[in-house]
Amino acid sequence: MTDVLNILLALLILGLAVWTIVAREAYAAAIGFIAYGLLLTLVWVQLRGIDVALTEAAIGGGLTGVLLIGAAARLRSTESAARAERPGPATRWVAALVSVAVTAALAICVLALPVPAPTLAAEVSANIAVTEVLNPITAVLLAFRAMDTLLEAIVLLFALIGVWSLAPDRAWGGRPGLLQQADPNGMLAYVARVLPPIGIVTGAYIFWVGADNPGGKFQGATILAAMWLLVMMAGLADAPPIRRAWLRWLLVAGPLAFIGIGVVGAMTAGAFLAYPHGFAKPLILVIEFALMPTLTLILGLMLLGAPRRGEAP
């Protein structure tokens, strides 16, 4: 019975993926992509990857989906012109050949994987007690592969700088996004008052249980960023001008704390990002706490886009 459901789910995802690619309108494709991300979440739940499922729902479906919808909205004016351009047969053949070649290369890679797959899972589970973190995903991300997580945070910061660099010169340092004018007594303003308390508690909870259960700073930060965006969309608060010193400091605080702890590790424990014996859990907590506001701000500001207006509200 479960097999039948799993096969149906896989077929549904494949069908939706094809639909998303062949959809004529960018907006429809973005909606298809969000549904695809939510279905993929179900797959991760079926595979018992609850951490990955949470991340997929929050970032793969939600955040990326909103980014794509924003991109589709901006491309709408150019869409009919783009559709009128018919690529010639040569372009189509080359595109088809390249796609087939990429698919074939991926298939060969997957089929050529050694059986059993090389794994460090046994060593991780043998040494996980040292970190005092019960959720193996968090232990891997912040103890055994802390370098990856540090680079991830820095990559996000670069992505935000990339978004900001699209700002016109006159708006540089100003407020990102458009000024929202929603009805102060409307439905959206009501939800923007009711939902954030629940969302903030949920985000903090998901962040805190990340040590022992599925969850963590990324998923929690996404929820907090969503609440922040909701309040701004309802016009209850305005986006901060990006020239503010406190904003810049918060944006780099997480990675700076991470690097600082890494340097201390290099001096006391013998390697960059190594934790002194017995201090693993508290140091992981410090890193998580430092990264949380940084990630929330980066994710929210990335969705707001480049600065488009001056400092005046």
């Binding site: 439905m187 959206l188 009501y190 939800v191 009711v194 939902l195 629940i198």
Partner: protein
């Protein structure tokens, strides 16, 4: 007792699934945005409500049951809001048909 509860779960979840099916059929078949919204919100509100009510006797702990109810209430809130916002856009800009 447990047999009664099991039957309650089956009945309520099936009834919820019927609402989801009807909502989906309505979404595909109804002529304009407002009637389609009407079909969709029934699936969210009543369908999910019945599924949650049906699953309540099956949970292991009180907190799990409360989480289920919270999920239903949050979906009610977001569904009602999204419905209102879409309906207002339709009224202002006209239905995209």
């Amino acid at each position: 007792m447990s047999v009664v509860l099991a039957w309650w779960t089956v009945l309520a979840v099936v009834a919820g699934a019927v609402f989801f099916l009807a909502g989906t059929v309505g979404l595909l078949r109804f002529p304009d945005s407002l009637t389609r919204l009407h079909a969709l919100t029934k699936a969210d509100n009543l369908g999910l409500g019945l599924v949650v009510l049906g699953l309540l006797p099956m949970v292991d702990s009180v907190s799990a049951g409360l989480k289920l109810i919270c999920i239903w209430l949050l979906v009610l809130l977001s569904g009602a809001t999204a419905g209102q916002l879409i309906a207002r856009t339709v009224r202002r800009d006209g239905s995209p048909s």
